[in-house]
Amino acid sequence: MTVSTAEMAQARVRADAEARAPLLEVAGLTRRYGARIGCADIGFDLWPGEVLGVVGESGSGKSTLLACLAGHLAPDAGRVLWRDRDGRARDVLAIPEPERRLLARTDWAFVRQNPRDGLRMGVSAGGNIGERLMAGGARHYGRIRGAAADWLARVEIDAGRIDDTPRAFSGGMQQRLQIARNLVSGPRLVLMDEPTGGLDVSVQARLLDLLRGLVREMGLSAIVVTHDLAVARLLAHRLMVMKDGRVVETGLTDQVLDDPQHAYTQLLVSSALRL
């Protein structure tokens, strides 16, 4: 299972790269809350295998942007094009609900800041991981359980905890379980909203390590929203800096963080704590 998933992922990255088309094309995305702006005129391309970081202070529209991309919120204007497995460009905002749900449990993954929002707290770890497989039609208990055990190992949770509910897990374990639950279906696009928020630093470090490994191994394309510049530097290839609902600066992560051009980015970078 482990090997085949990784191989499949790499084959997919190659296939996608051959298509030489972005996985996600976003243009003019705008969402207002009444007179206030959630996010305005956002545009970017996400390429296969690429990790895009979105940074900015709270209230800058990062989470609104992510919710619009995932289809949880309907944007007021703009276009999101998604390249499906057959290489066709699909308008995400026009995809019918049944197909969007299918995508949401196969090709897309959404990792929430609070694992309680992304997990079923009353269902065992194995059931949590198996849900996407069963929703996709898996009906062989032994194989579902095997996949769950395999993914627990990959996110460094003891296989003996497979029948425990997430309630009995620590915060860091819950977050790792949420990641396993999302990645078990081999998604092509992962959206993460503050994946390390609320965890203490040593747990954060292990989680980042894990995420980096999985991104590389599975060739994941991901959008990571964070207010933590260190997380962005470790995970993201490219950065997008947001302020008051607009993108103020984009570029390669190292370039943006080492040589910030926009005044706000300069403020953000200089505000980061250094030991």
Binding site: E97, P98, R101, R105, R120, V123, S124, G126, G127, G130, E131, R132, M134, A135, G136, R139, H140, Y141, G142, I144, R145, I162, D163
Partner: protein
């Protein structure tokens, strides 16, 4: 009963109400397993005592029908006797305890052991029509899940059972998939009865009065109990013969017979048991 001395419309409900219920039944039959809303009426009995079933029976009855009512398989319990007496009074129809003679069988929690025929209608009393109720409390969301056939959550529930207990432990109201589409609660019949739903020659109607839902299985509809490939569905029953008629293949009730913990297992279907005994069957000596 002649029209002059009738105190009620035939079968208690007014004609407009019966027409409304029949319309819901037609829709339910057209979409097997789909929970059709209907404007459930107050009946002269409390919710939970079979108001949904009684309304369906009232809407289906014709003067020539022969009605049988069972409660947990028995013809002689309070609920069954009362409903039978009710329709004998307000519709003047013939009633029976024999499954073979009946044309309409209203039931709570059982399907008769005697095979049904194409000329019969089964009416089930349903307390909770929504199979996803305890998995997802929001009705708006469960309706969307049905609409999109998004049933992963139901399978997760079965997974949890197998993970914890080694087998699915649902003994009654075991969820089924109807004609490969809707997941349906077969009402609290024991799972022993689930196979009788599959391709049944009789029309099966399900009425939930408090919840205002009607659903149906047209004759010969494919009904599969949800399971796993490596943990297939099993119809279960107490592993012993009936203490009265010796039947090995009928569903049994456990009856406490004294204060010393004495118990016996007898057929839950009283008509089936009585017929067998009348034909000379008896339990082998214990």
């Amino acid at each position: 009963m002649t029209p002059d001395d009738a105190d009620y419309t035939f079968a208690y409900l007014d004609e407009a109400t019966k027409r409304m219920i029949r319309r819901a039944v037609l829709k339910a039959v057209a979409i097997p397993g789909y929970q059709t809303p209907f404007a459930s009426r107050e009946m002269p009995m409390p919710y939970g005592w079979g108001t949904g079933g009684v309304q369906l029976t009232a809407a289906c009855l014709t003067p020539d029908d022969v009605l049988k009512v069972i409660d947990q398989g028995a013809d002689d319990t309070t609920n069954a006797v009362s409903i039978r007496a009710f329709f004998a009074k307000v519709a003047g129809v013939a009633t029976t305890e024999s499954t073979r003679e009946a044309t309409i069988i209203q039931t709570r929690h059982r399907i008769p052991e005697t095979p049904l025929t194409e000329d019969q209608i089964m009416v089930f009393q349903v307390p909770i029509p929504e199979p996803l109720r305890f998995l997802e409390p929001r009705e708006t969301e469960t309706r969307r899940m049905h609409a999109l056939a998004d049933y992963g959550l139901m399978q997760v529930r079965l997974y949890e059972d197998v993970a914890r207990h080694g087998a699915v432990t649902l003994a009654y109201a075991y969820p089924v998939r109807v004609a490969g589409r809707y997941v349906m609660d077969p009402s609290p019949i024991p799972r022993f009865d689930n196979p009788k739903l599959d391709r049944s020659p009789a029309l099966m109607l399900f009425g939930a009065g408090r919840e205002q839902r009607i659903y149906a299985l047209p004759p010969w509809t494919r009904v599969e109990s949800l399971d796993f490939e490596d943990h297939p569905f099993e119809a279960s029953k107490p592993d012993r013969p009936c203490a009265l008629c010796g039947a090995e293949d009928s569903y049994l009730d456990e009856v406490i017979v004294d204060d010393a913990g004495g118990r016996m297992f007898v057929c839950s279907d009283t008509d089936h048991c009585a017929n067998r005994r009348a034909a000379g069957a008896q339990a082998s000596a214990p």
